[in-house]
Amino acid sequence: MTSARTYNMVVLVKQVPDTHNITGDVMKEDGTVNRSALPAIFNPEDLNALEMALQVREQYGGQVTVMTMGPPSAAEVLREALYRGADKVLLLTDRRFAGADTLATSYTLKCAVEKLGKFDLVFCGRQAIDGDTAQVGPQIAEKLGIPQITYAESVVSLEGDEMVAQRAFPLGREWVKCKLPCLLTVVASANRPRPPSARKQIECKLAATPLEYRALLTKWPEFESEEKLDAFLAERKLKIPVWTADDLGADLDRLGLAGSPTQVYKVNFVVLETTESKQIPANPEGIAALIQELVKEYVVG
């Protein structure tokens, strides 16, 4: 018999602009992005990461903490994580985190994971749809000095400090065994994320960071003051903690813009246009003439 053991899990998530549904008014004339025209969503593969952690909790026991780094408004994805079943959530926000590339981001998140205390498993989505880099997960694993299992599709088994996981590639699969702690980046094919629970949505509706108190007071003036609201939320475990660079004890030179070796030199709007084009009537004669032309020009053999 193996002794019963539960697992401390951290899920790292990101709020992203919904780049998969970009419409005309999002791209401005000068090629810049009108971010405000895009809805902010829970990064899709981060939902798969959260789901994987929740399933491990259900099967083996443990605690799931969800963390995000972003502006104060990123608290929205943390509430969503609570609705889906996270035990604890936490916001990392600080102007000094801003402008971070993947190296600075991974340093910030590494500091936060370490500050949380003992952990067994870290889950991230494979990549975020606003950058598609898939770099932050492996970079955090390296900084924590733990193995990484990228493209994770399932946790096959957990026994004591040993895990077997399945990885998925475009042309194959792989099964790996690894000692904990380790970090997994989770792919979309891993699972179907559960929807938010209606019960939790009611229970956690008021969950908020102190940065949101002022706005909440205008909505619920009956709380009278930020102090009273804070006491109310803290008592019900609905206060979302906020950590800044000072809380992390981080090396300021490695955060945000200062800690980012990559710089954006320029950005071009994608203009793909052809100069010569022909309209072909969608009737048998038009199509037959087109095919003849292609044959004549040796495009079709």
């Binding site: 997960g137 792989e174 690894c178």
Partner: protein
């Protein structure tokens, strides 16, 4: 001699052959090295892969760093990252390129983090040029311009790493052209003795299952691609039939793949494969910029769509406004009659 202007290319190999992405990078690396007046160095890791070192030279390397070790037989992140990080930290080449393959995208960030270097993912072009930093008003000559689509493919960003070396990037498969091997090319093979500790071997591969791709989009002279506009499996069969008659390959938009009309291997575009065939037929594809990014360099493009304002028409040489389920059978018929 190795120097700090060197261009390194990670040579990905498996099942006895070098990955296409690596061969493509050797050719691009050679072009960059000539501009920098330096040399190309291939980093080849594996077990009993010595005979591949010559191929690396034939495809454009001046030097091969050969790490041949039983622990490197099957790719695993940690031992490979150990070799690459130790070498890059010690020698600090100017540029370090990896294919944006599942392996390259797993290894590169681990190495970049270990040696604290900037890394750009999924580049579609690389150039050498000067950069004037707005931060410190200094001009940095001969930097690597790392060019990649961003924000869902709606913009193209040029990224630079002025301060850290190497300048690291992963590069999309299929966008660079590989060179014909030159068997007369000579180069130096330098053996590397890797040192692993227990932590490098913390992960074990229990088993691995791979299948051969049955889809060869990259090499196809003709690609007939279907989109969500086809609506049904039945209509998608028309795409397959037309591709078959033309001796081409079946492509698809992300929407068609997501709708389950065809497997993901067929996806063309920013998150799929980049193609540049002689003829590209886009059937029922609206042409989101993500898709166009993967096929806009095709020699001739025929677009069929019911919506005359579909963005695909902006890059089409032949525009057919109509229903795909009517137009495709007309094309099939016209081609059949031609070959009679």
């Amino acid at each position: 001699m190795a120097n700090d202007r060197d261009v390194w290319v990670f040579i990905e190999q498996g099942e006895g052959r070098i990955a296409d992405a690596s061969l493509e990078l050797l050719a691009k690396g050679q072009e960059l090295a000539q501009k920098l007046d330096s040399q190309v160095c291939g980093l080849l890791c594996g077990y009993q892969v010595k005979e591949m070192a010559d191929q690396v030279i034939h495809h454009g390397a001046d030097r091969v760093l050969l790490a041949d070790h039983p622990e490197l037989e099957l790719y695993r992140t940690l031992p490979y990252a150990r070799v690459a990080s130790d070498l890059a930290r010690e020698r600090r080449p100017c540029i370090f390129l990896l294919g944006a393959t599942p392996i390259g995208r797993d290894l590169a960030p681990r190495v970049a983090s270990a040696i604290r270097c900037g890394l750009t993912a999924d580049c579609t072009d690389l150039q050498i040029g000067d950069y004037e930093s707005k931060k410190d008003k200094q001009v940095y000559p001969n930097l690597l311009y790392q060019i990649r689509p961003a924000f869902g493919g709606n913009i193209i960003a040029t990224i630079v790493n002025p301060h850290t070396r190497p300048q690291m990037a992963t590069v999309r498969e299929g966008v660079m052209r590989r060179a014909e091997p030159d068997t007369a090319r000579k180069g130096v093979i330098e053996k590397i003795e890797p040192h692993f500790d227990e932590r490098d071997l913390a992960l074990q591969v229990l088993s691995r299952e791979t299948r051969e791709s049955t889809v060869n989009l990259k090499g196809a002279p003709v690609v007939v691609a279907g989109g969500a506009g086809l609506g049904s499996q039945e209509n998608f069969e028309l795409v397959r039939e037309l591709a078959h008659i033309l001796g081409g390959e079946v492509g698809a938009s992300r929407a068609a793949v997501d709708a389950g009309l065809v497997s993901r291997e067929h996806q063309v575009g920013q998150t799929g494969v980049t193609v540049r065939p002689r003829l590209y037929i886009a059937a029922g594809i609206s042409g989101a910029v993500q898709h166009r990014a993967g096929m806009s360099e095709s020699s001739k493009i025929i677009a069929i769509n019911t919506d005359p304002n579909a963005p695909i028409f902006q890059i089409a040489h032949y525009k057919i406004v109509g229903d795909v389920d009517k137009v495709l059978p007309m094309m099939i018929k016209a081609l059949r009659e031609k070959t009679k």
